[in-house]
C-alpha cells in the first residue's frame, strides 16, 4: 500500500487527538515514584541507613501485595552525603527529570533548610523527620509535613520530664558551640524560666574541650538538680558523664537523643557513669516496665525479623522509614491519584493516623504531625535491638 503525505498527516492528527484519552490509562499503571533524599554516606549517615531499611522494607512489602491500586511503588534514592548542595541538585533532578510523585527526606535539618523552598515552588508533597522548627510553615511551605517531633516538642518533653516526673526546680542547661547547640540552649532556658523553673547555670562548651570539670563544678556549686544537654557531640557527652562520675555526683542528665548513642559506651571510664542519663526517645519504640514494646511496634519487629537488622541501628529510624512510604502509598490509595494536590489534600485530612513510629495528625494549618505526648525519656544505657527502656517515672 502506498502511504501518501495526506495519510500521514491524518494519522498524526488522529494520534494527537487520542492522546488525552490514553493519559488516564497510563496514570493508572505507572509506578508511584517516591523520591528518597538519603544521606547514605558521609558524616551523618547513620540515621539514613536506618531509615533506608524501613523504606525498602515497606516498598517491598507493598509491591509483594500487588502495589497500590495495581501500581508498583518505585523508590528513587539519591545519596546526598549530608551535603546541602548535593541535596539541592538531587531535589531538582527528582522534580524535573525523575518526576517523582512525593519526596521523603532529607533527614537532617541542614539539607532540609536548603531544599524546602525548592520543593514548595514545585508544590512537591514532602515528608521529613527534621527537627528544626522553621522547616514547618504551612503558609510558606504548604507541601511540607513533619513526621517526627520538632525541636520545640523535644524541648517540651524534656521540660515535662524534669518538672513533672523528676520534680526538680533548679536546672543547668548545657549545649555545644554549634549553631544548633547555641539556639537550643537559648530556647530551652527561656522555656524553663517561663514554666517557673530556675536555670542556675547555662553554658555552651566546645565539643573538643578535653576537661569538663570547670563547667560541672560551676553547675554543682550553683545547686543544679538536673542537667539538660543539647548537643550531638557524643565525645562531649561522655566527658560530662565521666566527670560527673569522678566528682561522685549523682545529678541526672536529661536531653538530646545522642546521649543514648552506642558510641558513648566505649568512651566511658566506667559503665556506671551512664546511669541516670535520660535521653529523648519515643513511646512507640520503648520497652515498658514489663520489658515489652507496644503491641503495634512488636508486630513490626516480628515482620522485620530475619529481613531487617536492628542491632546496629535504631528502631524508630526503621519505623519512620516504613511510615513514610506507607503515608505516601496511603494517600494514593485513598484518593486514587498521585497528583500533588491529591496527596497534600489527603495528608491535611489525617487525624490520629496510626503509623508504627507515631500517630500522625495533620490539618491545613498544622503540619507538625507527631504528638508530643508520644515523646518520652529513655534510660540511655538500655539499648536492645534498636529500642530503649522507658526512663523511670512513666506509669
Amino acid at each position: 500500500m502506498r502511504i501518501t503525505r495526506r495519510d500521514l498527516s491524518r494519522a498524526t492528527l488522529a494520534g494527537l487527538a487520542a492522546a488525552p484519552l490514553a493519559r488516564p490509562a497510563l496514570a493508572q499503571t505507572e509506578a508511584v515514584r517516591i523520591g528518597w533524599l538519603a544521606a547514605m554516606t558521609g558524616p551523618s549517615s547513620a540515621p539514613a541507613i536506618g531509615f533506608n531499611r524501613g523504606v525498602l522494607f515497606a516498598a517491598n512489602a507493598l509491591n509483594a501485595d500487588g502495589g497500590v491500586k495495581g501500581r508498583k511503588i518505585e523508590i528513587i534514592t539519591r545519596d546526598t552525603q549530608g551535603d546541602p548542595t548535593k541535596a539541592v541538585n538531587a531535589t531538582q533532578e527528582m522534580i524535573s527529570q525523575a518526576k517523582v510523585h512525593a519526596i521523603w527526606g532529607p533527614t537532617n535539618s541542614g539539607e532540609s533548610l536548603a531544599v524546602t523552598a525548592i520543593m514548595a515552588r514545585a508544590k512537591m508533597p514532602n515528608i521529613h523527620p527534621c527537627v528544626v522548627d522553621q522547616l514547618i510553615d504551612t503558609r510558606r511551605y504548604p507541601n511540607a509535613f513533619r513526621t517526627a517531633p520538632s525541636n520545640g516538642q523535644w524541648d517540651d518533653a524534656v521540660r515535662a520530664y524534669c518538672l513533672n516526673v523528676l520534680k526538680v526546680r533548679k536546672v543547668a542547661v548545657i549545649g555545644d558551640t554549634t549553631g544548633y547547640g547555641v539556639s537550643a540552649v537559648k530556647a530551652s532556658v527561656a522555656a524553663f524560666q517561663k514554666d517557673g523553673a530556675e536555670v542556675v547555670y547555662q553554658a555552651n562548651i566546645d565539643a573538643t574541650q578535653p576537661d569538663m570539670t570547670p563547667d560541672m563544678l560551676r553547675a554543682r556549686n550553683a545547686g543544679t538538680e538536673a542537667i539538660i544537654i543539647w548537643s550531638v557531640s557524643t565525645g562531649m557527652e561522655a566527658r560530662l558523664f565521666n566527670t560527673r562520675g569522678n566528682m561522685g555526683w549523682d545529678v541526672p542528665f536529661v536531653g538530646h537523643p545522642s546521649m543514648a548513642s552506642g558510641e558513648i559506651g566505649g568512651l566511658l571510664s566506667r559503665p556506671a557513669n551512664w546511669e541516670k542519663v535520660f535521653a529523648i526517645g519515643y513511646k512507640s519504640c520503648s520497652y515498658g516496665a514489663d520489658g515489652n514494646l507496644p503491641a503495634k511496634s512488636q508486630e513490626l519487629v516480628s515482620r522485620l525479623q530475619g529481613k531487617v537488622a536492628l542491632d546496629d541501628t535504631l528502631l524508630w529510624w526503621v519505623a519512620a522509614g516504613v511510615d513514610a512510604v506507607n503515608l505516601i502509598a496511603g494517600a494514593v490509595e485513598a484518593t486514587g491519584s498521585s497528583s500533588n494536590e491529591a496527596i497534600i489534600r489527603h495528608w491535611n485530612s489525617l487525624t490520629k493516623h496510626a503509623g508504627y513510629f507515631g500517630t500522625y495528625s495533620f490539618t491545613p494549618d498544622e503540619h507538625n504531625g507527631y504528638p508530643t505526648e508520644e515523646v518520652v525519656m529513655s534510660a540511655a544505657n538500655t539499648a536492645k535491638h534498636g529500642a530503649f527502656a522507658l526512663a523511670p517515672g512513666y506509669g
Binding site: 558551640t177 578535653p210 576537661d211 557524643t234 568512651l267
Partner: protein, 287 residues
C-alpha cells in the same frame, strides 16, 4: 579546684607545647610553617587507638607503629606540600599547600576512621592514681619532658643533630659545606611527624581519637610558637604550659566560650608588647 587547674592545665599545655615543637622542627630546616602539625597530633590519637584497641597490639609496639606512621606522613608532607613551594617562599604558597594537605588528612580520617570520637586505651595498668594524679594528666607532661630532653641531646651531642642546627642556621652555607640539606629536611619532617604523633598519643586519654582534634591542635599549638619565639623549643614549652594553665584557669573562672576569648586577647596583647615572642630574639638586620 587549684589541683584540677594545675593537672589539666599542665596536661593540655604539654600537648600544645609538643605541637609547637612540631611546628618548630619543620620550620627549622625548611622555613615553612606547616599547618599539618595539628593533624599529626590528631593522628597520634587515631593511630594509637587503631593499633592498640582495634588491632589489639601491646602499648609499646602500638606507640612505635604510631610514631612510624606519623613520621611517614611527615615525609609525605615534605614531598607533597613543602618541596614544590620552597623556591617561592616569599610568596607564602606553603600556607595554601600545607593547609590543603591538612584538610585532606582530616577528611580522609573522617571518612575512614569516624566522625565521632572513639575511645583511646588506658596506657598504663595503674589503678591507684585518681583525680589530678590520673595518668591522663601526667603522661603528656612526661612525654613533653622526654621530647625536649631528647631534642637537646640530639641537637647538642650528635652529629646529625648538629647538621640539623647547621641547616636551620643557614641552609646555603650548610649545603656549601657538603651537608645533605634535602635529606636532612626530609629527616626533620619525619622527626616532626613523630613528635606531633607523640602529643596526640600521650594526650589520647584526654582528647580521644577524634578527627576534629586537628584544627584545635593546629590553633592552640601555634600559640606557644608565637609566644616562645619561632624556632625556640624551650620557649614553645614554656609558652605551651603557660597557655594550658591560663586556658584552664579561664575555663574555671569565666567558662568555655569566654576562655577562648581570654586566651586570644592575652595572645594579642603579648604579641603587641613583644612581636618576636617572649623568648625570641629581635630580628637582626644585615648591613
Amino acid at each position: 579546684m587549684l589541683a584540677s587547674i594545675l593537672a589539666s592545665g599542665l596536661a593540655v599545655g604539654a600537648i600544645y607545647a609538643l605541637i609547637g615543637i612540631t611546628y618548630n622542627t619543620m620550620f627549622a630546616t625548611s622555613r615553612v610553617m606547616s599547618f599539618t602539625a595539628g593533624q599529626l597530633g590528631m593522628l597520634g590519637g587515631v593511630f594509637g587507638s587503631l593499633f592498640i584497641l582495634q588491632f589489639q597490639l601491646p602499648v609499646l609496639p602500638g606507640l612505635a607503629l604510631t610514631l612510624l606512621a606519623a613520621a611517614a606522613i611527615g615525609v609525605v608532607t615534605e614531598f607533597v606540600a613543602v618541596r614544590p613551594v620552597l623556591k617561592s617562599l616569599d610568596q607564602h604558597l606553603y600556607v595554601l599547600s600545607t593547609l590543603a594537605l591538612a584538610l585532606m588528612i582530616q577528611q580522609v580520617t573522617a571518612i575512614e576512621w569516624s566522625t565521632e570520637p572513639r575511645p583511646f586505651p588506658r596506657l598504663l595498668e595503674l589503678t591507684t592514681a585518681h583525680g589530678p594524679w590520673d595518668q591522663k594528666y601526667w603522661l603528656p607532661v612526661v612525654a613533653c619532658a622526654v621530647t625536649i630532653l631528647g631534642l637537646e641531646y640530639l641537637y647538642k651531642r650528635t652529629l646529625v643533630g648538629r647538621a640539623f642546627v647547621a641547616v636551620a642556621e643557614d641552609n646555603f652555607a650548610a649545603r656549601a659545606l657538603g651537608l645533605p640539606e634535602r635529606n636532612l629536611r626530609v629527616a626533620s619532617y619525619a622527626l616532626a611527624g613523630a613528635i606531633g604523633a607523640l602529643a596526640g598519643f600521650s594526650g589520647g586519654q584526654l582528647l580521644l581519637a577524634f578527627f576534629a582534634n586537628g584544627p584545635l591542635l593546629n590553633f592552640y599549638g601555634f600559640i606557644p610558637v608565637a609566644l616562645g619565639g619561632l624556632g625556640n623549643n624551650r620557649g614553645a614549652v614554656i609558652g605551651g604550659l603557660a597557655l594550658g594553665l591560663f586556658q584552664q584557669a579561664a575555663n574555671f573562672t569565666v567558662g568555655g566560650i569566654f576562655s577562648s576569648v581570654a586566651v586570644f586577647t592575652l595572645f594579642i596583647i603579648i604579641l603587641l608588647a613583644a612581636p618576636q615572642g617572649l623568648f625570641g630574639a629581635a630580628p637582626q638586620r644585615r648591613v
